[in-house]
């Protein structure tokens, strides 16, 4: 899976805001507001990747148990999928 659209990212008041650009400008209405971990997930999705690979990379990055990361990643992916942002 990967992101369907490109995003431009800005930081506002400690929040990371992703604005759809290119084709996403017409297809998506609104912006994504993310915390740091959510943004890390979005960055991983810029290229074709599996959930297991995302979990593995973020577990290493944050030195956290895979089980904890896995639940968060799965929830985030489902939410992004419901917005129509990823394949």
């Amino acid at each position: 899976m990967k992101l369907k659209y490109m995003f431009e990212t800005v930081e506002i008041d400690d929040e990371i805001v992703c604005v759809p650009i290119g084709e996403g400008t017409e297809k998506l209405h609104g912006v994504l507001k993310l915390n740091k971990t959510g943004y890390d997930i979005i960055k991983e999705l810029e290229n074709e990747i599996t959930i297991e690979e995302i979990v593995s990379r973020l577990s290493s990055k944050y030195d956290t148990d895979c089980h904890i990361i896995s639940k968060y990643v799965s929830q985030t992916i489902e939410q992004l999928r419901s917005f129509g942002i990823i394949d």
Partner: protein, 240 residues
């Protein structure tokens, strides 16, 4: 082709139009100066957009002149980004030479509301009733232009922008200040968004600059109730 140079948002813009009626809209802004840049339309381009409009808006009226005007505005808006200037949908009013811009979807009541300001505030005037240009930077300014809505409310003035007020229809009147974090998605919803990725990135960057000097408000408004003007005025200007 008909040609004119106009001055808008501190820039001189050369316009080459097919229909002379289009240029009559620009009469108040005409100057005899060299253009910073030029935009042009073509008959085929207008005809294509006219057919597209009729297809996508089967119940609405338009004309080739209106389509040409819209095409010119879009081309100017996209070029203006090079001058740190963007187009925002809303009605801007000036009080004591400071601009207050009411932003909302069409039909919310922006024009109705600012007309109450004209009646109640001496020396208030409308800068642009529909789509003003905003010059971004350390001092943000709101600018009049020929593209000021079907009621033709506006004038050839540029004033510093003090506040942006996002309007929403409501049963009661209530206004509160909001953070830039709340305001940003609302601004994006009403700003002219080019299709090219680099231009939308530039637009986003220009919007971000507003956070430094502009106050943002969310205004739940009922124009049918008398206190709607006082609710907004007392918060935005009051005794400051």
């Amino acid at each position: 082709m008909c040609t004119v140079t106009i001055s808008i948002a501190d820039r001189c813009v050369g316009i080459n139009a097919v229909y002379p009626q289009t240029l009559r809209l620009c009469k108040l802004y005409q100057v005899n100066k060299r253009a910073d840049f030029s935009v042009r339309t073509g008959k085929q381009e207008i005809e294509t957009e006219y057919r597209e409009f009729l297809y996508t808006h089967p119940n609405e009226m338009t004309s080739e002149v209106l389509i040409e005007s819209s095409v010119l505005l879009r081309k100017i808006a996209e070029k203006m980004l090079d001058y740190d200037t963007f187009l925002l949908h809303g009605a801007a009013i000036a009080v004591n030479d400071l601009g207050y811009m009411f932003v909302a979807k069409s039909g919310t009541g922006k024009t109705t509301h600012i007309q109450k300001w004209l009646k109640k505030v001496p020396d208030a005037y409308i800068v642009n009733g529909d789509k003003p240009f905003i010059i971004s930077g350390n001092c943000v300014k709101v600018c009049g232009s020929p593209w000021c809505g079907k009621e033709r409310l506006g004038c050839n003035e540029i004033v510093p922008l003090k506040s942006v007020i996002f309007m929403e229809r409501s049963e009661s009147n209530y206004i509160r200040q909001i953070s830039f974090s709340e305001a940003f998605p609302l601004l994006l919803g009403q700003v002219h968004r080019p299709k090219e990725a680099e231009k939308i990135k530039k637009t986003i960057h220009l919007l971000m600059m507003l956070s430094k000097s502009i106050s943002f408000y969310h205004f739940k408004c009922n124009n049918y109730k008398d206190e709607c003007f006082e609710t907004a005025y007392n918060t935005l200007i009051g005794n400051k």
